[in-house]
Each structure stands twice: as C-alpha cells, then as structure tokens.
Symmetry: C2
C-alpha cells in the first residue's frame, strides 16, 4: 500500500478515534433519574426499563450493597464482589492451619461454603421521596442545633414506622440534597452470606499498597459469595438450615468481554462526593483537613511499621490498620495533587463570583440568596478556625484504642438508658450489634506500645494548642507539670491501671450504669468522664453547623438551578446509583498514554516472587501454552486482566458490576486511578478513570487456576 495514501488517511482516523471516544457525562445518577437520561443515545442497547422499573425484575434487583457493592450472577444467590470487600470475612474464617487468605478458598459443594462473618447484603426494593414529612418537622424559630435534632428525630420515626410495616426489611432515609430532599429506601436485608470462591491473596491483592490507586493495574480483585435465606425465602440470620437465596434478577455474563471505546454502565452504592460544596469547603479540605490527616496517618503508619518490624505477630495485628491508613493517606495525597493540578478551589471561586453577581443583579433574588455563599463561607471559616481543637478531640477518640473503649462504654451507659428513638444512632437497637462488632475488631488488633505512642503524641499536640483551642480536661491533668516526662508518667500510670482491654471486661462494662462506671475509677474512664462535656459541646456545635448548612445549601441548589437553567443530580450518599461511560485510556502526564487494558503477560512481568508481587507459580505455568480459549482478548492475544473507563465512581462502588450495552456483566469495578481520587470533588473528562478486573480474567482464574468449572456452569458459561 502506498505510504503517502496511508499518511493522508491519518486525519480521518483521528476524527474516528474522537468519535469513538465520545465524552461521558459526569454523574452518579439516582435510580429515580434514569428515565430522564437518554441512555439509548449514549450507547445503551436495551430499554432503560430493563435497568429499573418498579413493576418488573429489572437489573437493579441483581445489585447488593455489602458495605461496598456486589451483583448476583446466578439464580442460586451466587454473587461477585471484590476480594478486598470480602477480605475481613476471609481473614476471620482463616486459621494458621487453614489460611484461606494466603491460599484462597473454594467450596466444591454448597455444604462446603463457609460463613462470611460480619457480611450482610442489602437489595434496594423501593424508594419514596419523604422531603415534605422530614422538613415538616422544623420551624423557623428553632435554634440551628434543634433544627438538626428535629430532622434526625423525624427520620428515625419514619424508619421505625416503615420497618414495622415491612417486617424483615430495613429502611433508611437518605439526605439527597443537603437540607432539601430526603428519600426513604426500603431494603431486603440478607444476613447469611457465605464464601464460595476466593483467589489467593497473591492474585486478589496483587500489587498491594504499592499499586493501590494506580494504573497500570494487575489485581484479580474479585471473590464469589452466596446469599442464603430461610427455607421460606425470607431473610434470616446464619443457620445451617438456610437455603440459597433466590434473587428476583441475576446478571448474565458475557465471557467475551469488551473492547476499547465500548459503552459501559455501572450500578452500585457510591459513598460520598462533595461536588455541590463550595470553594470555602474545598479550601478547608485542601489547606487544612487533608494535609493534616495525610501527615497524621503517615506518622501512625511509620510508628506501626517500626513496631511490627521485628515481630511478625505484631505486624499481622497491625496490618489491617496500616492498610486502612495507607489507603486513605494515598487517596488524600492524590486528591491534593489533583486539586492543585485542576485548580479546583480557584475554579469554584470563579463560579461563585459569577453566581453572586447574578444574584445581586436581580432585586427579586437578592433578599433570599445574597447571603447564601457568605453564610456557607462563615460556617467553614469557623470550622477551619476551630480545627486545631476539634481534630485533637476527634483523633483521641478514633486513634487511641483504650480511650475509645472507655469513652464509648461511658456514653453507652447513658444512651442505652434512653428510649430507642432518642439515642444517638450507634446505640439504637437496630445498630447496636454492629457497634459491638466494631469494638471487638478494635480489641482483636489492640497493641499497647502503639496505643501508648499515639496517645502520647496527641497529648503533646493538645498541650501545644493555643488560647480557645485548648482542651480544659487535658490541661487539668498537667496543671502543675506539662513536660514530656509528666506526659510519660501519666501514660505509664493510665495503662498500668486500666483493665478495659479484654472482651470480658468490655462486655461487663457495657452493662453498667453511668454511676457504676464512674465508680470503677479506671484511668481511661475517668478521662472520658472529664472530657465528656468537651465532646458534648463538639456534638452540639456540629449539629448547629449542620442546621446552618442545611438551610444555606438548600437555597444554594435552588439558586444554582435557576442560574444555570438545569436540574442537578445529588452528591453520592451510599444509595443506589447508575453511572456510565466508555472503555478508555488517558494521559496521566505529558507524553504518557495509558492503554485501557492490562494483560496476563503484564502480571508475569511485574511478578518478582516477593509480596505483593508473588503471583502463584501455577499462573505462569498455565499461561505457557498461550491457549486462553474464549477468555483471550482478540486484539491483545492475551487474557485481559484489568480495564479503565471514564464512568463516574467513588468509594462504595467497589465490587460494582461493569455492564455492557446489553446489560451483561463484563467486569468488576474495584478502584480508581491516582488522578481520579479527585472524583469526590470534581469529575474530569481527562483524568477520571475507574478500574475493574476484566470478567475474562475472573473466569480464567476461577476455571483454570481455581478449578471452579462448576461455578462457571452455574453462571451459564460453557
């Protein structure tokens, strides 16, 4: 072929590539909004009613919330989610002798499936706007804190009533737009979940923290679990008599996978985004909260890594805390980089200046809206001003285990004696079991030297606070001597004198009245009692801030809709959402292009033999023949391992099914790229890419490496 002709075709080709890569729209759409989207024009090949219609077994009934997300893939309650989502349950099921985390797990029969402790699965059954009822509970004369309390109380009442009317279901009222719209969701709530197939950690967590939030990625981050129900089909606690749950709908899998440029959509439960927030909030995050938290997490990780360096038992205990801290730290650092690179705060400020000018130019609008932005700025200004004190109070309670236990036990002794609807959510009957579970997780991973070092650091930081930020109860402890030696002495005495750190002691404590607890004279309980007014003050402050923001943000969305002449979709809030996009690479830096698929060859190239790059030798063995059958990518001539797309996701979308234009499963979402950590604040066409494990790798590993042919058969794959 003549080279000049070929060269002359290049511009045409460029147009073709642009057209194939049509930009996706930003958005995590609530299911209620689907019909307003013209998804067929974006590339969907099935009727949108196939995704959701209340009168038929549409795709949303195949989606489960498991903290993150999962999706049913067989009529027998089999569902797929991420390895990292099932991680805790696999760890809990493992012993030194039967280490399923390291070796993986496969149940060859249903009888062999073992309980996934701590896991539950929710299915969204229906939803209804309850904004009127909720907002009917407030009136203008209320204090800001009381406004928040009234809304909380009304929501609790709606939930209680709904759960009474719908026995066995779980209800939640979710705030969609701050202070403006509230939706009641009713969920089927499955509590008997079992492990079916889990690949070895060296596949499911390949690349570890090193590759976390990164592309190119080579992680087989998937696991298969099964939901069980009572013999009559109703949700039930774990029992050997239970039977596989029959979902209204399960996903068909397309083992042929997907290609670059193809349309995809995801269903799932994204956690939180902040896109409707203001420049002042973003600036608070960028300048104060995130850098402080990232540094504080780095400090703790360093401490824990040193503590675990010489003793693998201690290292194991601290591993999941380090993993969690490192995950958030890297996420924050990615966000900080992205905020700077995209100039998010400056962009928001420019938008807000234009909006303010629009408001002030119209005498009809000004009275209702002119103070909205300044009002919000004031709240975040105050939050920023008190961040020194509030951060110390929050960190003491969240990072010092002994103090956390004492504080929670003391608050429980007060709260549990109130009527259920008047309690803080953690102490309500419907949540209490989860609260207890969290406590025993803390006890299981408790390590005194680390706890002491964290406590000391926070006390020293507290003693360095200035003026109004100072914490009186801590000052009182060191009135006569605030030296490091005095802090050391206090800590030695406190840990020497406390006996809270056993399951037995804790269980005993949680039965007592406030007076009985105080009488114990446990050093940590005494500190909790002394600090209690400070925490109560903080809670009141936070509720007042929420009350102020509720009215301000409600008006902000109103005026933004008026100004821009369009309706918005609410920020993510742990409710079921749809997002769509295309399989697509990106340019993370000048002269660098990331392709949207990684391969099995790439897994082997990264493999060093040392964790987290210790691929099981069986994988290299199996890949030798290069005979991948139906799981081969037709262009790459290899098994595709992970893939990229520009759909809009955030934490909570872990395990979300990635579906093709026909609504068939072709991947399991598990992460975003480093540049896309910024998604929580702004979606960027250039940088927002999410990462899934390709269904072809899932199936190839399960069948060829795991020997789980029968599961592929159950999923209808031959």
């Amino acid at each position: 072929m003549n080279k000049r002709i070929l060269v002359s075709m290049l511009p045409l080709l460029l147009i073709a590539l642009v057209l194939l890569g049509l930009p996706a729209d930003e958005g995590m759409y609530p299911i209620s909004e689907l019909m307003k989207l013209d998804l067929r024009s974006k590339g969907l090949e099935i009727a949108p009613e196939e995704i959701y219609a209340s009168d038929r077994p549409s795709l949303i009934y195949a989606i489960v919330s498991v903290g993150a997300t999962g999706s049913f893939v067989s009529p027998e309650g089999l569902f797929v989610t991420n390895h990292h989502v099932a991680f805790g349950a696999v760890q809990a099921a493992s012993t030194k002798e039967q280490d399923y985390l390291t070796n993986g797990f496969l149940a060859r029969t249903k009888a062999g499936e073992i309980q996934a402790k701590g896991m539950t699965a929710r299915i969204t059954e229906s939803f209804r706007d309850v904004s009127k009822e909720v907002l009917g509970a407030v009136h203008p004369d209320m204090s800001l804190a009381d406004r928040t309390k009234s809304i909380e109380r009304k929501i609790k009442e709606i939930v209680a009533e709904t759960e009474k009317e719908n026995q066995g279901k779980r209800a939640e009222v979710s705030e969609m737009f701050i202070g403006r719209t509230y939706v009641l969701f009713i969920y089927t709530y499955l509590k008997d979940i079992r492990l079916v197939y889990v690949p070895p950690r060296a596949i499911g967590e390949f690349g570890g923290e090193f590759d976390n939030w990164m592309w190119p990625r080579h992680t087989g981050d998937f696991s298969f679990l099964r939901a069980y129900a009572a013999p009559d089909g109703s949700p039930a606690d774990y029992s050997p008599r239970n039977v596989p749950f029959k979902p209204k709908r399960f996903l068909k899998i397309d083992p042929r996978g997907i290609a670059e440029g193809d349309f995809v959509f995801l269903l799932g439960y994204p956690g939180r985004t902040y896109r409707h927030y203001t420049a002042s909030y973003m600036a608070y995050e960028e300048e104060s909260r995130m850098p402080y938290a990232a540094d504080w997490y780095a400090w703790q990780i360093d401490l824990m890594e040193k503590a675990g360096a010489a003793d693998s038992g201690i290292a194991l205990k601290l591993a999941s805390r380090i993993k969690g801290l490192a995950n958030t730290m890297k996420n924050y650092r990615g966000k900080l980089k992205g905020m700077k690179k995209l100039g998010i705060v400056e962009r928001k400020r420019a938008e807000e200046r234009a909006l303010q000018a629009f408001i002030e130019a119209d005498p009809k609008l000004a009275p209702r809206y002119a103070d909205v932005l300044t009002g919000i700025d004031e709240v975040y200004g105050e939050t920023l001003a008190r961040a020194g004190r509030e951060t110390i109070l929050e960190s003491l309670r969240s990072s010092v285990n002994m103090f956390h236990l004492a504080w929670l036990a003391y608050e429980a002794s007060i709260e549990l004696r109130k009527p259920d609807l008047e309690r803080e959510p953690a102490y309500m009957n419907r949540n209490w079991a989860q609260t207890i579970q969290r406590l025993s997780f803390i006890l299981r991973n408790y390590h005194e030297p680390v706890d002491k070092a964290v406590f000391k650091e926070l006390l020293l930081r507290s003693l360095r606070l200035k003026g109004p930020d100072r914490v009186e109860a801590i000052d009182d402890l060191f009135k006569t001597d605030a030296s490091e030696a005095a802090v050391d002495a206090f800590i030695a005495k406190a840990y020497g004198g406390s006996k809270l750190n056993t399951e037995q002691a804790l269980a005993d404590l949680l039965k007592r009245t406030p007076m009985e607890i105080k009488a114990l004279n446990d050093p940590f309980v005494s500190l909790a009692v002394a600090l209690f007014p400070a925490y109560q003050g903080l809670r009141e402050t936070q509720k007042a801030r929420k009350g102020a923001l509720d009215t301000l943000f409600a008006r902000l969305v109103e005026i933004k809709e008026l100004y821009l002449g369009k309706a918005f979709i609410p920020d993510a809030n742990n409710t079921l959402r749809l997002t769509y996009g295309r399989i697509k690479g990106y340019e993370p830096a000048d002269a660098v292009h990331f392709e949207p698929f990684t391969t099995l060859t790439g897994v082997l190239e990264k493999t060093t033999g040392e964790p987290p790059f210790n691929t099981p030798p069986g994988i290299a063995e199996l890949s030798k023949s290069r005979d991948f059958g139906q799981f081969e990518h037709p262009v790459l001539k290899d098994v595709p391992v992970c893939m990229l797309y520009d759909a809009d996701t955030t934490g909570g979308n872990s395990g979300s099914p990635v579906l093709n234009a026909r609504g068939e499963l072709i991947g399991v979402n598990f992460d975003r790229t480093y540049e896309a950590t910024i998604n929580d604040y702004a979606w960027s066409e250039d940088y927002s890419r999410s990462i899934a494990v390709d269904i072809r790798y899932v199936l190839w590993v399960a069948q060829e490496f795991g020997g789980a042919d029968f599961l592929l058969e159950e999923m209808g794959i031959r």
Copy 2:
C-alpha cells in the same frame, strides 16, 4: 460520519502505522561501512556521499568529538553540544559573583565569548586500516602479556610517525574488532574553545538526577560554543589573537523540526559497547561487576550526601562526584533490570551452544575454533574468581583521593624517566597535560572526611578478603592488630602526616625521582610503594588476559561470520559512527505507551519551583501567549521539548546531531531511556530509544528566553 465505516477503517490504519514505523536495524556503523548500507531505502533523501566521501566537504566534517559529540552550525566555528557536556567548563568559568551555571551565559559579541577551560574538539579527517602493521608485531611464541605489549608499542610507533608527518594533527589507532582489526584515525585537534550561549541550569539540567535516564523528559540539554584557531586557520592553544575556526562543513538547521515516524540519523562518537562479547562476560557483568559497583557507588553517594547535608560549600565540592556516581549507578541498575528482563545471558548462551555445535560438526573447523568459547569463558572465569582482590585494588586507586595522588606521583617518577614510547599512555608527552588536569580536578574537589571514610571502608573490606585474594601490603600494615580501631588509628596518622593535598605539593612531587619520593616518608607514598608490586602484578595479569582474549575474540568473530554468513560491524570504541532510525515512542510496561514528543506545557506541569524542577519564571511568562511562531509543533500546537527515536546510541553520543532525511539538524541527542541503558549489551527494537532536545526548543529558548536572535541569524534562521 458513520461510526461503523470509521471502525471498519481501523485495520487499515493499523497497517499504516506499522508501515510508518519501519523497524530500524541495530548498529553504530563506522564511516567506512556507510556505502554498504542502503540508506536511501531506509529513508535517507540525500546521496550517502553527502554524509561521507573523502573527496568533498561531507557532513562528517561538521562533527566534532568533545569527549562527547558536537556539530558545527555556522561557517564561523559555532557548534552545538549538550549542556551537560559543557557543564565542567561553565562551572570553571563561574564565580560566586558571576554564576553562569545558575544564570546561564550569553556572549553578545565574539569578544565576549569566554574560554571553555578543559575543552578540546577533534574532527575526523581521514582513516586507514593498519591491522596488518599492528598484527605484524606479534609472533606465536610470545607470552600473552608480551603480545599485548608488542601491539601497544607498535600502535604508539604508528601514532608517533603519523603525528610527525601530519604536524598539528592528532593520530589514534583504534581497535575495531578485538585482536583483529585496527584503524588509524587522523584528527584535526582544536584547543581554543569558547562559551557562546549556555541556558540556565534550571533549563539545561531540568529534572536533574531525578529524570536522568528517563522518559518523559523535559530537559533543554544544549549549549552553543565556538572553536577558534590561529589567524592562519591552524589549531592553536587559547590566545586572544585567535580567530573563529572555519569548518569544512557546517550543518543546516531545519527549524520546522520533525514528526513521528520520520527517518533520522545521528553522527557521533559512541564510547563502548559489548555486543560481540560472550555470555560468560555478560554473566560476569550481571552477577558481579555491576551489582558490586552500583552498591559501592550508592554507599559513596550516601556518605557524600550526609557530608554535604549541613554545609552547602561541601555539598558544592562533592556535587559533581555525586552526579557522576549517581549517573553510573542508575545506568547500571537500568542495565541489570534490562539484562534480566530480556534474558540476555540466557539468549547469548543459547546462541553459543548453537555455534559450538556448528563448529564441532565440521572437522575442518573444529581444530581452529572448538576451544574459542571455552577459552574466553576461562579468562572471564578467572577474572570473576579474582574480582574480590582486583576490585579493592582498583577502588583504592580510583576512590581514595590521597592514595590516588601518591600512587600516580610515584608511578610518574618511574615512567617519566623512560623514553616516551615506552611509557604507559597517561605519562606520554602527548597525554601528560591531560593527566595533570585530571589531578587538579581531584584536588579542587577534595574533602578529607569523605576521603577518610572511603579509605576506611576499603581497608576494612580488604581485611575481610579470603585466601589468595588478600592484599599482602595491607595485611602487613595490620599484622599485629586488624581491628577497626587499628584501622582508625592508621587513617588518623596517615592523613595527619601527609601534605600531598595542595597543587604546590603535587607539582613539587611530580618533579622528583623515585628515590627522592620514597625518602619523603609520606604515609600515602609509602603505601603506594608497598602496594606497587601488587599493582604491577595486576597490570601484567590484565595484559596477559588481553593477549589471550585478542586471539580468542579474533577467531570468534571469524567463525561467527562464517556461521551466520554475514559480516558484522565492530563494537563502539570512541570512533566516528553513524546510526539511524525513526522518531518513535515505545511501551515501557504493560498498558503504558510513551509518546515520542514532550512539550513546553509538560515542562510547566513538572515545574515545582524547587531544583531540579525550577524552570525560570520567564519561560512560563513567554508561553502565556501560546504564540510559538515557526517553533510550534503543527499537531501538538506547542513547542516540542524532547523527542524519542530508535537509533542505536550509547555514552559518547551525548551532543550528537539528530539529522533528518535531508541531513539537516533537527535535534541534539543527550540521553537514552532507562530501558535503553541495556544498549551497551544488546539493542532492542522494543526498548532501545534515545532522547534528544528538539531543535525547536533549542531555538525558542535561545531566541525568546535567551535573547540570542543574532545567533539564530548566524545559523541562517529567520
């Protein structure tokens, strides 16, 4: 446009891209071989005779060897090379008050051009095969060491004779194929070089050690210098009366630059490659020499960085040593990674097994060739076996400055008293000035605490050697006490008692006879005298090994040519070579594609304000208008900064002109990618990419930022 039609065009496009990216051949071709290459069919649009013909002013006369490479770009002796090539001269010309390294340098008139101390420029004038004469000096009965000495002696004679016949020229005999072919080169040797335009270090060294050996790259690694000659046009030492040198040929510049897929070629002086070496040599490098050296360099860098941490004066002194060590360390680590990734040793072994089988299958070949590979293996086996001892001896002399000075002075006192042709090369009249220059460079950067620490480490390592590796003269020092304390005491005494470390002391020393030097009783000289027999033994061993390898490698190339039915090109050896290829990106890892051009936007994205990412603010200012005139890349709509191509280069090609199909300058080569550090052992179509600064960035910086419009005019650019 219909999307389906576009999709159907994709395969066509793929074919187009493949055709555009025709693979280049491996090779650094000697000028003598050019006519055998069908360069027109590869993409060259001018007659090959334009590149080299002895009877016309062809392109090679525009190329200068300046240690690395440069090329004339005006009839007035103006030449362009890399910033890093001119670095030492710029540093030497700088003072605290006039810091040309930091601020850059521009001479607005020829009178303002300042001497580039230490720089010379060689132009290849002619060459002639002298293999017969050289090999005529040996006969079969000679010992292996004598064989080497005879060849060295014969070469010195040829050089002396040639330089006598060609007054003012410099002659070199270069070994092309080991022990087989020798070529006499005659060079014009220019000694008056001056600085013309040097960008600030923040442009010329942007990215520093961090980006070194890496892509994507954003370094403006170029400088303009000018060669001067005596008023009659003949080479002369620096003199204010000298006039600009008139080269026979200078390069035309194409300011429009080049595009992806285009043919390019380079002329230059690549240093050393080892492609004709055997698996046993590669294994010695991979298993012993390179990992040891990389670790030893890392140890020294760490030491020097700590020494410089608290004192910027010391840091400045150590900067160029650290830079040199870090450069080699990173190069070796890249090579080690590449050798493993490409399986070089295993590949070579397989080739050698096949070659051996071919030899043994033919009774006519076996007698002459059957022992060749095993013979070479034996030499490298012995080298590997003695590496412990030999590395310590080499390191003592190269890394301990005080010992280096003492040792060299002592050897000089012996060598300088021999007839010129009998001396080791460093002491011959024609090289002595350079030797002295190297010594004063060492003195200038001398820092006693670092020297002591390095000396101590090497003594301790020496004392840990086993059996035959032990160094007697060092053992003798610590006969009664070989503890660390004894080493410390010895070092304290040695540095306390020596006075070698001034220019004056050294100059004085270099005048003395061996007896006089011994009589000084300087501790370092005494050690040099004591160790002298060990070094003489090492030199004899190395000459004997060279003698053995000469006969073995000569036969190896013979039989390989017979076996493969083709002639080879010799490994790089600091002589003028041509290499060609195409502008082309590559895939450094699964799912990652590197594009072949970086941009000014990328420079600004990398800029943090902190060295080595501290782009001068003027660059950002100038880029604001986005009006780049003729220096804009037509597709990227930006100034292209650096570019990638698959030509075959190595160290020494720094500063090589990158020429388009018409022989016009479009870039200045300055580095290779990390994956291409492996070039010294094997060229890889997938990974071997070299890096140039795009001529458009050179010209844009010089004109817009540097204000050197008149230079562009001198170069014929309007």
